[in-house]
Amino acid sequence: MAPKQILSPLPGTFYRKPSPDEPPFKEVGDQVAVGDVVGIVEVMKSFNQVVAEEAGTITAFLAEDEDAVMPGQPLVELGS
């Protein structure tokens, strides 16, 4: 089975942390439940949460903190 992915809902800048001085929302190996925030996408100075739509364990981040991302671009890989 292909790994599950969390996709970017919007184009913009992906942030893994709620603010520059804080730790990331999630790390590789963390469990996520449906609705958990895994990052933020900033589009035109508005900040939108990226949430997990399925539960799982984070196996990889496919975008780095502060990367430019496109809608539908995979951001996080989830194992079961």
């Binding site: 919007l10 184009p11 913009g12 800048t13 589009v43 035109m44 100075k45 508005s46 502060e66 430019a68």
Partner: protein, 460 residues
């Protein structure tokens, strides 16, 4: 300092505006751009363009070393920062000047002083400019805070010294809440800005936002009258006009003279704006802060005075004295500006980047559209949502209202939703038509009117 080339360290419509002014002065235009703006109109219309980094503003338009490097590599004689990004960053101005390059704007010291609200307020008070009744600078101890609050009266505002853009402000309506709110505000200021300093200010319930455009050459200063920018959503201006419909001629004269006094007092160099709150009931105005840059809404002042403010600020940076006297600056007619943003007013102003599939721009006498759009342009998601500014001029406010209504009908942007429907509704609103509004008007208006603004093609 004389120069014959200028680096534009900004993007979008203001980059084009600076390009136009610079070329009118015969200067070579060098455009700094991020990867996301490689295909933009400012890049196409520049004499030379230089990439300064990836799309994210923090790594390009806000990266001081990248811009300094670009200016040095291209041999630019001057740097124009536009608005936003590094326009009011004293360290940037300092870094530009340290390379022997002219900074089109005030000195780093002036930027730093006016960027500190407590120092700006003190300078205003020393120049005899009325300020909102408030504490003398930062509040240090609880006793001092209590005494200041008693002198100011309630309601009052607790503001973070290091705040800005509407952040770090609390309203306290009664004495009983004061001590608790003060301690919360100090904690918030410390957390948000790394500086727990706060000061107090009287809260004017029904305030109008009126601001004076000034120009200084470091010695002398003049004003280009005032703008009213009371129609704001989340403290972002959406509609601006000149002159203010709320001022009588005597108050206008007093207000504009006060702004010139402050500009002279600080030896201001360049274009700047003094922001005031105007209390219509008391017919009193109070200085709140100064913007040490050209502003988004500068065209309304240009339309009513015939001045080219951006060209003038460049000439001042070249070391020339002000080429006009106050007596030569005449107020003529009325101008209105509507900011057209890539946001959907029917969906809580959700910003929406995307492809401009079709564009029709109105024209004719007294109509100006400052914009970087073209058909086929991809509006990037990395910057603010401003697509352009529709500005009109008429002999009277009524004529300007009729003209903006027609111009809004003539503007068609397809591919992304825009705030055009908001402006079309505002221009028809009886209170807006009568000039009856304050800084809270639009937020209240949206509570009852947002649903009528309708979904647009291009919205998802």
């Amino acid at each position: 300092m004389s120069f014959d080339s200028i680096l534009i360290a900004n993007r979008g419509e203001i980059a084009l505006r600076i390009n136009r002014a610079a070329k009118s002065l015969g200067l070579k235009v060098i455009q700094a751009y991020s990867k996301a703006d490689a295909d933009s109109l400012p890049v196409r219309l520049a004499d030379e363009a230089v990439e300064i980094g990836p799309p994210q503003a923090s790594k390009s338009y806000l990266a001081i070393p990248n811009i300094i490097e670009a200016a040095k590599a291209t041999g630019a004689g001057a740097v124009h920062p536009g608005y936003g990004f590094l326009a009011e960053n004293a360290a940037f101005a300092q870094a530009v000047e340290a390379e022997g390059i002219a900074f089109v704007g005030p000195t780093p010291d002036t930027i730093a002083m006016m960027g500190d609200k407590v120092k700006a307020r003190r300078a205003a008070a020393m120049a005899g400019v009325p300020v909102v009744p408030g504490s003398e600078g930062r509040i240090e101890g609880l006793e001092e805070a209590r005494a200041a609050a008693a002198a100011i009266g309630f309601p009052l505002l607790i503001k973070a010294s290091a705040g800005g853009g509407g952040r770090g402000i609390r309203i306290v309506r009664e004495d009983a809440d004061f001590v608790q709110q003060l301690s919360t505000a100090q904690g918030e200021a410390k957390a948000a800005f790394g500086d727990g300093g706060v000061y107090l200010e009287a809260f004017i319930e029904k305030a109008r936002h009126v601001e004076v455009q000034i120009l200084g050459d470091g010695k002398d200063a003049i004003h280009a009258f005032e703008r009213e920018c009371s129609l704001q959503r989340r403290r972002q201006k959406v509609w601006e006009e000149a002159p203010s419909p709320s001022l009588d001629p005597a108050t206008r004269a007093e207000l504009c003279e006060s702004a010139v006094r402050l500009a002279r007092h600080v030896g201001y160099r360049g274009a700047g704006t003094l922001e005031y709150l105007y209390d219509e009931q008391r017919r009193a105005f109070y200085f709140i802060e100064m913007n040490t840059r050209i502003q988004v809404e500068h065209p309304v002042s240009e339309m009513v005075t015939g001045l080219d403010l951006v060209a003038l600020m460049i000439e001042i940076a070249q070391g020339k004295p002000l080429p006009i006297t106050q007596a030569e600056v005449k107020l003529s007619g009325h101008a209105i500006e509507c900011r057209i943003n890539a946001e959907d007013p029917a969906r809580n102003f959700m910003p929406a980047p995307g492809l401009i599939s079709s564009l029709v721009v109105p024209g004719g006498e007294g109509v100006r559209f400052d914009s970087h759009l073209f058909e086929g342009y991809m509006v990037p998601p990395f910057y603010d949502s401003l697509l352009g500014k529709l500005i009109v001029h008429g002999a009277s406010r009524d004529e300007a209202l009729a003209r903006i209504e027609a111009a809004l009908s003539g503007l068609e942007v397809q591919g992304v939703p825009t705030t055009r429907p908001l402006h079309q509704a505002l221009v028809r609103d009886p209170d807006v038509r009568a000039g009856r509004f304050d800084t809270n008007f639009l937020e209240h208006w949206l509570e009852t009117h947002a649903a009528t603004l309708g979904a647009q093609p291009g919205s998802k």
